[in-house]
């Protein structure tokens, strides 16, 4: 089985031979221990690549940028782009392939396996370390080893893993050109346990929960910006995001529908988040980035996870495993449930 050093060697080879334009991977950020996305253009820079439990980002998001960049160039470089993906991120690539947003030959996928672990949740880490700053985080079998200024501490992985990793159904990439790590399947007892907890609340309790959370929203749209699947040039709920061109007539501009106001009021926030959740039905692969990016800590992934659960349980649809599968919302089966229809 290949390991991460082999993957780096392959990356060097690809860049030396000019087979890929550049590589999107994880590097160590400014504070010395947290990973950030890096763009590697030369074989020498491949040294910067890292793979550790702080690699939370969904790098498939930058494939959207790459497509937009190519669209702006008169004679784009048609070589593929290399991208490092975890299991969850590879499912995002599968969805983008399903929707024909990118072609398989536009990407070279370097997969990394989370083995039986995953990535670390910042808040859980901050609480466990009680204010101490980490210097390095490593995975050793089923424990996370954290080096701080005072020495090493270790915790069982379940105590620090991001919530989504605890329910993960793809801890190794579902498609790849080269894979680092073992293809170990992790047994997940309740893949939708976190959603079920909210479903178990009474109707009014659920309402109060969501009202309290969505009232915090300042409509920064970070959740939308960080999502690889929110690639629409013009978002339907965002009345300022009009794709106006020189050909748009005055009448079109004057009569453009404004679905919700820009103000961050409760009712408008609800419509924005509900529409986003519906537009991600059958497309969201629970990379958790929306929730991580949200500056007000709104638990956004539950909205999407709920629809993922419904897709699985009622339509037998698993999101992001088979690139040949048709999208959920634009397909149907003759025996789809219809009991709710009068």
């Amino acid at each position: 089985m290949a390991n991460f050093e082999d993957l780096k060697e392959e990356a060097r080879k690809l860049l030396r031979e000019g087979k890929i334009k550049y590589l999107i991977g994880y590097g160590t950020g400014g504070n010395g221990w947290q990973a950030i996305p890096v763009f590697i253009k030369t074989p020498e820079d491949v040294e910067k690549l890292v793979w550790d439990p702080t690699c939370v980002h969904n790098l498939a998001r930058f494939l959207v940028d790459e497509k937009r960049r190519k669209a702006r160039q008169k004679q784009p470089d048609k070589r593929p782009v290399g991208v490092v993906v975890k299991g969850c991120d590879s499912r995002a690539i599968v969805v983008l392939l399903q929707e024909k947003f990118i072609d398989r030959q536009d990407i070279y996928v370097l997969g990394v396996s989370c083995e039986k672990a995953g990535v670390i949740d910042d808040h859980k880490l901050a609480r466990k370390l009680g204010g101490k700053k980490p210097k390095k985080i490593e995975l050793a079998a089923d424990r996370f080893l954290i080096t701080t200024a005072d020495g090493k501490v270790e915790f069982p992985v379940e105590e620090l893993l991001a919530e989504r990793c605890l329910e993960c159904q793809a801890n190794f990439p579902v498609l790849y050109d080269i894979l680092a790590g073992e293809k170990t399947r992790k047994a997940v007892d309740k893949p939708f346990g976190s959603v079920e907890k909210i479903e178990a609340l009474g109707q009014e309790e659920r309402w109060r929960f969501w009202k309290e959370q969505l009232d915090k929203c300042i409509r920064c749209y970070a959740c939308r910006s960080v999502c690889p699947m929110c690639y629409c040039d013009e978002c339907v709920v965002d009345s300022i995001n009009l794709a106006v061109t020189a050909d748009t007539t005055a009448e079109e501009k004057a009569h453009k529908v404004k679905w919700i106001q820009r103000s961050a009021e409760s009712s408008e926030n609800f419509v924005y988040h509900l529409v986003r959740a519906i537009h991600l039905a059958g497309r969201c692969i629970d990379c958790g980035e929306c929730e991580r990016a949200c500056p007000l800590d709104i638990p956004l992934r539950f909205l999407n996870k709920k629809l993922e659960k419904e897709a699985k349980e009622l339509f037998g649809y698993e999101v992001g495993f088979d690139p040949a599968q048709p999208p959920l919302i634009s397909s149907f089966k003759d025996d789809d449930p219809g009991d709710f229809i009068r």
């Binding site: 950020g29 400014g30 504070n31 947290q34 950030i36 996305p37 890096v38 763009f39 980002h57 998001r61 930058f62 940028d65 702006r72 808040h123 901050a126 609480r127 700053k133 300042i218 409509r219 920064c220 749209y221 970070a222 910006s225 960080v226 009345s239 300022i240 995001n241 009009l242 106006v244 061109t245 020189a246 050909d247 748009t248 501009k253 106001q261 820009r262 103000s263 961050a264 009021e265 980035e289 991580r292 990016a293 500056p295 007000l296 800590d297």
Partner: protein, 360 residues
Amino acid sequence: MTLEISSGKMMDKILEKKSLPLWMEKLNAWTVYAPRKDENERWNYEIIDHAPASLELAVTTLPAKALIFPQREVFLEFSKTIEGNRETLEVREVLPNGKPFVIFGVRPCDARAIWLLDRVFGGDFTDPYYWKRRSQASLIGLACHTPPWENCFCLSVEGSPHGEEGLDILLTDLGDSYYVKTLSTNGEKLVQAARELFKEPQPDDKKKVQARHAEARKKLVRGVKGTKKERAAALQGLFDSSLWDEESMSCIQCGICTYLCPSCHCFDINDEVDSISPLRGKRVRTWDNCQFPDFTMHSSGHNPRPDKASRLRQRVLHKFRYFVENFDQVMCTGCGRCISLCPVGIDIIKVLDKVSNHGA
């Protein structure tokens, strides 16, 4: 229009920490805000229902500007009434008319940012909505005795862990008491409201304060290089550089840096029409964000800042060059939020380092 700074002698006082909640409770004439920590260890200013035992050094997610320059503000309401064949359009200005409010525990960088915003919303054209709230606000700052965040860099942008700009009172933590330095008439009123709780300072209290402040200055690890004039000049030469493209590669246009910046102030004005017939609606100001792709979209379809590189460049130049040219101040106050909260680790200090190395 500027705020009244009392020119008379303002007496410094000492407040024992155990009297802090009592002081807050005495301030019935004000709505009292203080930082509160939630279960994720994040701080935000909230109206207190019971006073905290002490003030901790808190980096609130939303800066104090959110209470003076809120995300949504109604300017005016309009409605049309039709009687027979006469149409009357009524327009009512809606000025903020809430109670005076006091914010405890404001970090000097947040307060300095508000002091900078006073120039934007004041000067030749005063914004009545901003000033109504601003004149109702009293800010009680807490001097930082350690950098609250690993990304603080206030000293290198003409700020300080014990800066006084924008504050009505500055508190310095002396262990079991606070040194209370009153800086304005608003501050005086706050102290007078509970004057029996305050004691006279001892002769060496002032020395202790100065020692604390000096300690805090030494602890700041990060900083941007050069003086404000040097940085502005370096940025001038780099407008067309490919540096911006490289630095913005990982930017995802989420806008968190701008929305949470204590000195960012761009806004949008929209008419929110609640009913067309009879006509009824409001004119509303909301926050806007130069990192949104369509921030500079013209109605012709042309967008002078069509890509991430130009938008990142705009943000850095506005903070470190344009504001310096307009107001002779650096607009960035070194709070570090944009660095710590950026989901992809873009670091404005690193960007500026590259800028100063570029010229070299």
